[in-house]
């Protein structure tokens, strides 16, 4: 399964070396890559998506690894840990790297998978057997939980206030969050979902409430307009990165796991399974499964909520309608929603009226 994995940026001008390193790490980490230092700086400075660590080759044309480190420091973007890649771990390189507090390790070329992978797993406290499931992290201490709850409440108030100013309410997002919880509970019974406990289900479901928070940062008419000019389309698509940026304003380490989930849903809820979505054209499992699930649920809800009755026939009808284009959703997510058919119908049939207030 694709879970919420740590994201690494590989910066190396050699495509072969990048691909080999990516191959060593991709089962346990989400990998982004670039072939030059300037692109790396741009990605790191935007921090959308969030980069957990940079694997930086020292020897590159135009802008080498040490110049990337220098510019990161000068531009105040040196909080991201950097692992230097070198075929020459010389005394000079070690001395030079000591000026930069964010350099945490060296990786030598040729790559040794038996050294690199355990080192990175240890760096992020990831259990090698459970590989990349941050669900196992001990991030939910009592104090963390309180801080996360406070943050969620504050963000929810802000989101609601903006929606009210637009003559809307948050019923749509409550439903997305509720449906997410129903579906994740079903998912947690499968072998794919190791570590998806009740705390994580709660956290991911609450994050789903905010997937479209970026919509409050662009003109309302753009969200409804079908025929956008090219300029308007750029503005419309920016609601994904703006939403991600908004939730990232909280930099508290206690909230970082929730923010990472939330940021991903904000940024990638318009990606498609076939890679034709935006903003990054993430294909297949490169987009987190939970984010793909969030998109499926919200689209399902946007049509299902308008049906006159909530029954099996309507469920099948709506699901068929939103999956006519077979490239949008992960088939695994669709199967999961089908498995939850009964619970979903029951949810719509038996819920109080406050989830239906604003049908749009």
């Amino acid at each position: 399964m694709s879970s919420l994995r740590k994201r690494l940026l590989i910066v190396d001008d050699s495509v072969i070396d990048r691909e080999i390193l990516k191959n060593i790490l991709q089962d346990n980490f989400e990998i982004m890559e670039t072939d030059n230092g300037y692109n790396a700086l741009e990605i790191i400075s935007k921090n959308i998506p969030h980069i957990d660590a940079v694997l930086l080759d020292i020897s590159m044309p135009v802008l080498d690894g040490f110049n990337v480190l220098r510019l990161m420091k000068e531009n105040g973007i040196d909080k991201t840990p950097v692992i230097l890649i070198t075929s020459e771990a010389t005394k000079e390189n070690v001395q030079k790297s000591s000026q930069y507090s964010n350099v945490s390790h060296f990786i030598s070329k040729p790559f040794n998978a038996g050294v690199i992978l355990p080192r990175l797993l240890t760096m992020f406290n990831i259990d090698a057997s459970g590989a990349s499931t941050p669900e196992k992290d001990s991030y939910l201490s009592k104090s963390n939980t309180e801080e996360i709850s406070q943050y969620i409440e504050a963000l929810r108030e802000l989101f609601k206030a903006c929606l009210i100013n637009r003559g809307m309410d948050d019923s749509r997002y409550i439903r997305t969050s509720d449906l997410m919880e129903i579906v994740l509970k079903e998912y947690s019974r499968s072998s794919d979902a190791a570590g998806l406990d009740n705390n994580n289900i709660m956290l991911i479901s609450q994050a789903a409430y905010f997937y479209d928070i970026g919509s409050i940062l662009i003109p309302y008419n753009l969200m409804e307009e079908k025929n956008l000019t090219s300029n308007d389309r750029v503005l419309y698509e920016s609601h994904t990165s703006l939403g991600a940026r908004l939730v990232q304003l909280n930099t508290s380490p206690s909230c970082s796991h929730f923010i990472k989930i939330c940021e991903d849903m904000c940024l990638h809820h318009h990606e498609r399974f076939d890679g034709q979505g935006f903003p990054n054209g993430l294909k297949g499992q490169n987009n987190y499964f939970y984010t793909q699930l969030c998109r499926l649920i919200s689209e399902f809800d946007s049509i299902f909520i308008g049906r006159k009755s909530f029954n099996e026939y309507q469920f099948d009808f709506v699901l068929k309608e939103i999956t006519i284009d077979s490239g949008i959703f992960d088939p695994k997510a669709i199967d999961l929603l089908i498995k939850c058919k009964e619970s979903v119908i029951l949810y719509y049939s038996s819920s109080s009226s406050d989830i239906f207030n604003n049908i749009f």
């Binding site: 072969i16 191959n23 075929s87 070329k109 998978a113």
Partner: protein, 120 residues
């Protein structure tokens, strides 16, 4: 699979497969990538033009690629050449080119033959 031709040309296939986390299916992809890589012609051009910077960059890149693909004979040669180039021993670095070229051509011939066999 029989890797004898690749091994004879200087590649430690088992070591490379370990680096590929045992994914044998990726072998052809990386062999094809090596054949497409332009650093060797860049090195030859740099040497013709007495262009030290580009020669170092190309030889260093080839050293990294050969090391990661476990083409160990070439890796050793490029490692030695990079040291010479960095130390300013240009003539000695150039003097290595016939041997480097012979080994490089041997491995590319083995790679081409390997890919042909896989497609037939």
């Amino acid at each position: 699979m029989n890797y004898a031709d690749l091994t004879n040309a200087g590649m430690n296939v088992d070591e490379f497969l370990k680096r590929l986390m045992g994914k044998e299916s990726l072998l052809n992809h990386f062999i094809a990538s090596f054949l497409k890589d332009s650093n060797f012609s860049r090195l030859k051009t740099a040497i013709l033009n007495n262009d030290t910077d580009n020669a170092i960059a190309a030889s260093h890149a080839l050293k990294g690629i050969c090391g990661n693909m476990s083409i160990n004979t070439l890796f050793d040669l490029f490692t030695a050449q990079v040291i010479l180039l960095r130390n300013g021993e240009w003539d000695k670095a150039i003097a290595m080119m016939p041997e480097i070229t012979a080994v490089y051509e041997k491995i590319t011939a083995a790679f081409n033959k390997w890919l042909e066999q896989q497609t037939n």
